[in-house]
Amino acid sequence: MDTAALNDALAGLRPVLFKLARLQLRNDTWAEDVVSETLIAALEAAPTFAGQSQLKTWVVGILKHKIIDCFRKAGREVSTDAMVEAAEVEAFDELFAPDGHRTAVPLEWGDPEETFKRTQFFEILQMCVDKLPPALGRIFMMREWLEYETTEICKEMGITATNAFVMLHRARLRLRECLEINWFAGAPRT
């Protein structure tokens, strides 16, 4: 791929990179900076590619590293609200009756592969992740998207393992509810 084509391809990736960075960083300025650094790094590396999908995977890889660097720099600021949220622990009480059973029955979601064929699903998924409270969303994406180990999350965020487990659980419950309401409840779709 020549430089001009690479420039065009990278420019085309900017929106999706920004969306991913924003999901993780919850801050537009940081997201912009990280995306710019990513695109500069990609241009400087000037690789040759067989096709578009390889480029996207590679550039997203750079983006992930830049996001991790951003976390390291922002370390202190981010942990305070994480600790505050971690202190409110019992938020999923309303899901369960006194005898410990669930009050609302979950829907059947079906085959993941079928769902993943629909691009609209991923838009809904992004919306649901975006709706997570900032500290929950950040930790959730560190675990699920950046694939940090729990111990690494605890170190970066200055929280205990128990805090991390509770926050991840709450994030998963909220995400589950959001997806169920906004996607699975409306099935079948065309």
Binding site: V16, L20, L23, K56, T57, V60, F92, L95, F96, D99, G100, H101, R102, V105, P106, E108, W109, P112, T115, F116, F121, F122, L125, Q126, V129, M141, R143, E144, W145, E147, T150, A161, A164, F165, L168, H169, R172, L173, L175, R176, L179
Partner: protein, 61 residues
């Protein structure tokens, strides 16, 4: 968690989430498995948590 092998749905939900973040202990694993055998709801929720993990990993594709 009490001393016998039975756990509630609430406890099962916690284990279903934590198994995605750490290795469950032997007793925890047995208790969870025993509960899932008799609880379709928690079994479903466990599958949904796996579903969400797969989905997030596909976000950048």
């Amino acid at each position: 968690m009490n001393g016998n092998w039975k756990i509630t749905c609430r406890e099962a939900h916690v284990l279903l989430s934590e198994r995605l973040d750490r290795e469950l202990g032997f007793a925890e694993t047995l208790r969870l498995r025993a509960h899932l055998l008799i609880c379709a709801v928690c079994t479903k929720v466990g599958k949904q948590m796996d579903f969400m993990r797969q989905a997030i990993r596909q976000l950048d594709r």
